[in-house]
């Protein structure tokens, strides 16, 4: 039995007040932790996803939409641009690398991205097993896709039209998994990568397989092309606003002309890496002067997204801080009231031999323990809410938000909560420290 046990006994003695104090603080800490996890993981995930991409070139429209769809894969694209755009960009002296992306389909909610192996290198991706895609309809899947779908090497699957689940299934053009990637902690983990030609084939767009040796497949593809576009009308499926509208429009006009083969190979966006800083000065202007193209800078759009999200987060943060202050005030009221009732106890402890510092410390410890309980439970609650929310809202997972990741700033929240507990206990503790023992004894008798 010591001052610590005594403190626990006092807390037990007024269970309801103790539980309410802890609950208030728990909710405040949990909210702050949630906001911190959300904002920091979102920011770092977005930073990682945008790494090495200096510029995104796509169809005219909202630059933020272009960045969200092509870099973060969380929105519909602005449309498509001609395949020649890739060559146009590669011819620029200021461009080190231009990686095409062709979007439009998904498999069980995971986006199928037509691209080149350089896209994997962009995120430092490496193969867990298998090999990279070499021919159309070969697919390499990210680690989350492998986990989410259970797909192994050799697995065949058909993409569904659109970027979310539930679209028309391209049964006639199945993909085959030839490789699986190791986790990268980037958007790569939840993508299905395939040559750009695969996306064209799936949508029946004529193209030349320049570097690929698959004559037989080529023939198949052309057969499929005719068959596929007869079989499904993109308009009939009421596709949302995404790149496929571009396909559809061109598809319609092609059909109007009575020749599906007039569909031109297109890409959705091109990710550009500058060779030098001069690129940043020259290239965006050059691109934006092209009638059908727009250039969007990920860093600029990322800052816009974060500042928009930040306003909401800041508001919630202020509310959470107010909640913390309420909790601190509640601890103060509880301690102050409790000490009014146990002045005799405190005097008795002093008479027995407890020093002023010991009774002061006992009261401070009471505030500290309440705060510590609230802080620890708040941490657990914050992470649990993220974990539970991930079950109901898979989008959180897509944003890269994980319940298991602990942000160093959470320690600051914990320290803040502990400081609040100590601050709330300070005044009652000072009052106990200054108590006139003889007078208290006289009053208590």
């Amino acid at each position: 039995m010591n001052m610590f046990s005594l403190t626990l006994a006092y807390l037990r003695d007024r269970k309801l007040a103790t539980l309410l104090n802890i609950l208030l603080l728990t909710l405040g800490v949990a909210t702050l932790v949630l906001l911190r996890i959300f904002s920091s993981q979102l920011e770092s995930r977005m930073d990682r996803d945008a790494q090495g991409i200096d510029l995104v070139v796509g169809a005219k429209g909202s630059p933020m939409q272009l960045i969200l769809s092509s870099v973060f894969h969380i929105d519909a694209p602005t449309g498509n641009v001609p395949l020649e755009t890739v060559d146009l960009l590669r011819q620029q002296a200021t461009v080190r690398q231009a990686i095409p992306l062709a979007l439009g389909d998904n498999f069980r909610g995971f986006r199928i991205v037509g691209t080149e192996p350089a896209y994997v290198d962009l995120y430092g991706g490496s193969l867990a097993d298998g090999r990279l895609f070499a021919k159309p309809m070969e697919a390499v899947i990210g680690s989350d896709v492998a986990t989410g779908t259970g797909a192994g090497l050799g697995q065949r699957f058909s993409g569904s039209h659109g970027l979310g689940e539930g679209g028309h299934v391209h049964d006639a053009t199945p993909f085959v998994v030839v490789g699986r990637l190791k986790p990268t902690g980037t958007v790569l983990d939840r993508l299905i990568l395939t040559p750009v030609e695969s996306v064209w084939e799936a949508h029946g767009i004529a193209h030349e397989h320049e570097a690929h040796e698959h004559d037989a497949h080529d023939n198949d593809a052309h057969e499929h092309e005719a068959h596929e576009h007869d079989a499904h009308d993109h308009d009939a499926h009421e596709h949302e606003a995404h790149d496929h509208e571009a396909h559809s429009e061109s598809g319609n006009s092609a059909r109007d002309a009575g020749a599906a083969t007039e569909l031109k190979p297109e890409v959705t966006a091109v990710l550009v890496q500058y060779r030098s800083a001069l690129g940043a000065v020259q290239l965006p202007g050059f691109i934006n002067r092209q009638t059908s193209l727009q250039a969007a800078v990920p860093a600029v759009e990322l800052a816009r997204v974060l500042s928009l999200v930040g306003i909401g987060l800041d508001t919630m943060r202020v509310l959470a801080l107010l909640q913390m202050l309420t909790a601190g005030l509640s601890i103060f009221v509880a301690l102050y009231g409790s000490l009014q009732r146990r002045q005799g106890d405190m005097a008795l402890l002093r008479v027995i031999g407890a020093s002023r510092a010991q009774v002061f410390g006992q009261v401070m410890l009471e505030g500290l323990l309440l705060a510590a309980a609230g802080a620890v439970l708040g941490l657990l609650l914050g992470h649990s809410v993220i974990g539970i929310a991930q079950i109901f809202f898979p989008e959180l997972h897509e944003l890269g938000i994980s319940a298991l990741h602990v942000d160093p700033a959470e320690m600051l929240i914990v320290l803040g909560a502990l400081g609040l507990g100590l601050l709330a206990a300070l005044l009652p503790a000072i009052q106990v420290y200054r108590t006139d023992l003889a007078q208290t004894l006289a009053e208590a008798q």
């Binding site: 010591n2 037990r12 008795l348 008479v351 027995i352 031999g353 407890a354 003889a438 208590a444």
Partner: protein
């Protein structure tokens, strides 16, 4: 602590409250194992004298020595320390910490007063007070008499040389008052403490050989 010095010595002790003199003692001492009674009607200054002896109140003039060590003229921390080492106090109503059980109260007092844990000694004292069956009960569950008995055990758990009891029998009936005094003497005997009992209760006067009279003459 000086072993051959009187356990308590009061010299030229003067104290007044609001201009009214309530303590005026030229020279008085209490030797070890010679239990004494501090007599006086209500308002005669008994409690003030106890507070001065315990170092809780600074007198207007004079000295208090406990076992050769000065209580007066010392800083608060030194007075706290001397009180902790030498004095056990039994109050009339203020007995135990409400949030702890009887046994926990004694364990805490032992820890604070002697800076050690000796549960066996705690259990012996609870047994001596005849309250083993109440050891795990809360203070509010005790009767008046039980509360007073356990307050004695609590005061003795620190093994004080001087046990001061302030009106220990005033609220008790004759039977309980007699048993309380028996317990005080027995426990003091068992622990080697010397009693200084402040009272206006005439029923217990005859049990003490030494008396210090305060206030009106009796």
């Amino acid at each position: 602590m000086v072993q051959d010095a009187p356990l308590l010595r009061l010299r030229g002790l003067r104290h007044s409250i609001g201009g009214r003199s309530i303590v005026d003692i030229d020279d008085w001492q209490l030797d070890r194992h010679r239990h004494a009674l501090l007599l006086g009607p209500s308002g005669s200054g008994k409690t003030s004298l106890i507070n001065i002896i315990c170092g809780l109140v600074t007198p207007v003039a004079g000295d208090v020595e406990i076992a050769g060590e000065r209580m007066t003229g010392q800083p608060a921390a030194a007075r706290d320390d001397l009180r902790r080492r030498t004095i056990g106090l039994v109050f009339q109503t203020l007995r135990l910490v409400s949030a702890l059980t009887v046994r926990e109260n004694l364990l805490l007092a032992q820890r604070i007063g002697r800076r050690l844990q000796d549960p066996a000694d705690v259990d012996r004292l609870i047994d001596l007070a005849g309250l083993s069956h109440r050891a795990h009960g809360r203070p509010r569950e005790l009767s008046q008499g039980e509360g007073q008995r356990i307050a004695i055990a609590r005061a003795l758990v620190t093994r004080p040389a001087l046990l001061i009891a302030d009106e220990p029998t005033s609220a008790l009936d004759d039977g309980n008052a007699a048993r309380m005094m028996d317990l005080l003497f027995e426990s003091a005997e068992a622990t080697g403490a010397t009693l200084l009992v402040a009272t206006h209760d005439a029923r217990i006067r005859d049990r003490f050989g030494q008396r210090l009279q305060l206030g009106a003459l009796t």
